[in-house]
Symmetry: C2
Subunit: 557 residues, 2 copies
């Protein structure tokens, strides 16, 4: 009998108070952009379904300074890690029940992985404070590693193996995973040109040069940012739960109900907070997927306005006590915890905010990778709040307590590191700042000089409904600048200009040089512009990478 998933508060876990019912498998090696590791929800609540025995649970916080590494983000084959967790002669044997007894520092902290049993107490004590990363304790880490495949890599396992204390009893090996199928076994088909940053979960960006070709990014080329496996949702049986905690109301609506509301179509750019992270990483390593410049795209989105739907619930901007609207996805982790985040009530209820429960992307049903059948589109706001496969809306006095709202997608001063970071001190990223990029040419390309000029193309965008009013380019590393003449966007006006601008410029290059650095910066309708360099905006999480985009090219005449 598999015990029912049990939710407990983080405080309970931290204090070591334990449940006698289930063995908690809390886990996170939070070293990639995938907030699903290290989620506060996990810390608070993750208790593994499918565990065995009746060992007491425990919370375990590990600080593990792994730097992001694009290669390690991609899937590792079983063969590459086959040497770890093998049976070792001469070591004592323990059952999972034995392991479950060791779930606090007092009793030593044990975990199981394949044939191995590990005492990781010293590891924990040698890495106190800093980012609190939870992982399975008193049980097996395998179910989580099946989900967060990026952790199952030689670098992690090599460290892990140092803490080996024994072998797991043969009968118990695999017991934790026997009922698990690959959670990524039912992913949608993807366009071959998408450039993956990680496979499980799937994260991929558009080939950069394609971006500048079309004001509307084709759906199949639109960057994909998933935190968990893509759920398969049947539009016919789809239900959206809506709760107003302040009014103590709740209801459930179907897709057909959503379609009864007036249909609005907006053009909106969605961007990952980590877009262009690979550039920031050159200053100093950060944790997160190594995105290039194409974790961004522009599409039309059609659906019902959130404000209309909430008005029907009786939510009134003038009288509500709520401060936030939380969203939950139908994508879940092994503890059945969904992806979640929230936005401010002001954005949700303002008709001018244009928040849409979208069921169409670019005029077609939203593709599975982008949230089929319903995704909330919060235009001007970081992608992380544009929750896909929307399953639940909660009108609340509180922000979402999900990891992605509380402990991820926040910026910090450059001096803050994983030893000193306090996520509670920084507000969750919502509206994104002004950004731009050169899409053509790309770094290292050879560029043809025609009549003393070169041609550059790219995008520029600002969140918060700010429209790009000017794009400046430089062909000498930023010494001289000129505004581009050709700047295209949809006609929406500030402060509801949710879509990006594409630009093209023919600009002179200095005679006689064979290589140079191209730069771009944009100005938005609030006259904000971009910071020059990454040094002074560096942050440990590698978000808000909006310094000038610099592209080094060779020149052919």
């Amino acid at each position: 009998m598999i015990p029912r998933v049990l939710f407990r508060r983080f405080a309970d876990l931290k204090s070591g108070r334990s449940s006698a019912v289930a063995t908690r498998l809390q886990h996170s090696w939070n070293y990639e952009d995938n907030g699903s590791q290290g989620s506060r929800r996990h810390k608070q609540q993750a208790i593994m379904a499918g565990v065995i025995g009746a060992g007491a649970g425990v919370a375990l916080w590990l600080k593990y300074h792994l730097t992001a590494d694009a290669a390690s983000s991609l899937l590792v084959t079983d063969k590459e890690v086959a040497e770890y967790g093998e049976y070792k002669d001469g070591m004592p044997e323990y059952t999972l029940e034995d392991v479950a007894q060791h779930d606090t520092a007092d009793k030593r902290i044990w975990v199981a992985y394949r044939h191995g049993v590990y005492d990781i107490t010293d590891f924990v004590q040698e890495h106190p404070g800093g980012e609190k990363i939870l992982m399975g304790a008193g049980g097996s880490v395998e179910p989580f590693w099946a989900l967060y495949a990026v952790h199952k890599n030689p670098h992690v396992l090599q460290i892990f193996e140092k803490y080996r204390i024994g072998n797991l009893a043969a009968d118990d090996v695999g017991a934790m995973v026997k009922d698990m199928s690959d959670p990524y076994g039912n992913e949608p088909r993807r366009h071959i040109t998408l450039k993956p940053a990680s496979m499980k979960p799937f994260n991929a960006e558009t080939p950069l040069a394609f971006l500048a070709d079309s004001l509307i990014t084709p759906s199949e080329l639109f960057y994909v940012r998933n935190h968990l496996p893509v759920p398969e949702v049947d539009a016919k049986t789809y239900e959206l739960e809506i709760v107003d905690e302040t009014l103590d109301k709740e209801k459930t609506i179907k897709l057909s109900d959503i379609k009864k509301y007036p249909k609005y179509t907006i053009t909106a750019t969605i961007q990952c907070a980590g877009n262009r992270r690979s550039e920031m990483m050159k200053v100093k390593p950060v944790k997160g997927l190594s995105w290039g410049q194409a974790a961004i795209g522009n599409a039309t989105w059609s659906g019902a306005r959130l404000c209309d739907v909430l008005k029907d619930m009786g939510v009134d901007e003038e009288t509500t006590d709520a401060l936030h609207v939380q969203f939950e996805g139908l994508d879940t982790d092994p503890a059945s915890m969904p992806y979640g985040s929230s936005i401010q009530i002001e954005k949700a209820l303002d008709p001018r905010g244009d928040v849409i429960l979208a069921y169409e992307m670019n005029g077609e049903p939203i593709p599975r990778d982008h949230g089929f059948p319903v995704r909330v589109i919060v235009p001007g706001v970081v992608g992380a709040r544009n929750v896909k496969w929307l399953g639940k809306i909660v009108v609340s006095k509180h922000e979402s307590d999900a990891h992605w709202q509380q402990n991820d997608y926040k910026g910090f001063a450059p001096n803050v590191d994983w030893d000193t970071v306090d996520f509670s001190k920084s507000p969750a990223i919502q509206d994104l700042p002004v950004i731009s990029a050169i899409c053509v040419p790309e770094e290292g390309e050879t560029l043809k000089v025609v009549d003393g000029k070169v041609t550059l193309r790219g995008y520029a965008w600002s969140g918060g409904g700010r429209k790009v009013i000017r794009v400046d380019v430089s062909t000498d590393g930023g010494k001289n600048w000129q505004a581009v003449e050709d700047l295209t966007s949809d006609p929406a006006r500030h402060p509801r200009a949710w879509g990006w601008s594409l630009w093209q410029a023919e600009v002179p290059v200095k005679e006689g040089i064979s290589e140079t650095q191209l730069c771009v910066k944009a100005v938005d309708s609030q006259y904000n512009t971009q910071p020059e360099n990454f040094e002074n905006i560096w942050n440990l999480r590698g978000v808000i990478n909006n310094a000038y985009h610099r592209v080094n090219v060779k020149l052919a005449r």
Copy 2:
């Protein structure tokens, strides 16, 4: 008999078609922030009241590259310029009627100043294109110089004197100014500590260190930015004209009518677009008042919401064809043209935009220098749109055609100079970007190091309702940064956070050094931050001076 003020279109003037009624005195030496010189309204329409004779009018565009100079912005005594325009023996004598015959380049362009007659045709031809500056032609420049006193300075007059061709007939000397009293003869009393940037019109900033002392800037210390003489308005007889051009409606309301609407109070920071211009000027000269860091202040403003007043006019956000709301002040130039500018209809009609017809500042009737009895407060938006002494509101499909909307208060790329600038290519500044400043210590001060630390204080603000979420300071010229712990603001939330934040920081300085550079930068709730340096945001008009504020200090231990 003084002819009635006559308005004519710019096109007429430019084509040389002339009025037989009045001698037009068009003028501008647009070298300071005072948009009243070079106003498009002037170019279009300025025809001098109080002129004599029946000479034909003419438009004259001069490009005059004068760099801003704080000293020259201040009032020049008659004594300092007494040597210019004096009677010169041996020169031919001309009457004003003679001068009036020379009002086009074909006929040579003559102007009169005191006892002198000048042929400035060559000057015009040597400075073609670029900023089109109008000045009196075929007549006297004196009435305008009485208003725009900054031009009456030795530097201008010295150049002017090179074009001297004769003496003005004794009977005509002073004829143009005989009915003029000093338009600045009725200015309000000002607090002695205000630091003037120009006297006529009066422009002055708060002593910098005072700013950081109080979240609410006392009214009498609030920076003053006037473009014209301060009008004396009687609250009892005050009338506000409201026109909707699209509905063909108009009405006039009194102060008592405005007070009948629900009274709203907001805390809002007002900032001049040229605040901190003196720092940008160090890169390369710009035109405009040499403001320090204190052309900004934070106050409470109380009054009726503009959206409520316009709703009463039948202006409906959903149905209106209007795109802009124009404002005119009761402050006027010699041609009776008022100060004017406009904002977008979206801002005006959105209750969340908090645009207020304010009759109180900090709980008291608005002082004369700040717009008594009614000033429109457009929170988050550049001071230039917060029109004082509000006389007229026009709901329109068009922006204000006033100089300050069309040909001033706009930003450009760094390569744009007065030869290449096209003001029509850049949108009028509305919401201002994120900015910050160190108020204490000031440049060159000696700072006491206590326990290895120094104390800094200052402000940070962002327009558009964005709240400052973080302020970073550096005590080593920007190499290392840390977030300040002490950041105070009123409780308003994004996107209606109109007021600034004050901050204080105790930060370590490197041991053993005797001087260093302090820096500050802010991050707002859209995660926008400031540009590092002025080089790449330099613009000919010296607006949006929001690069890091850098203060060089000596250290005492």
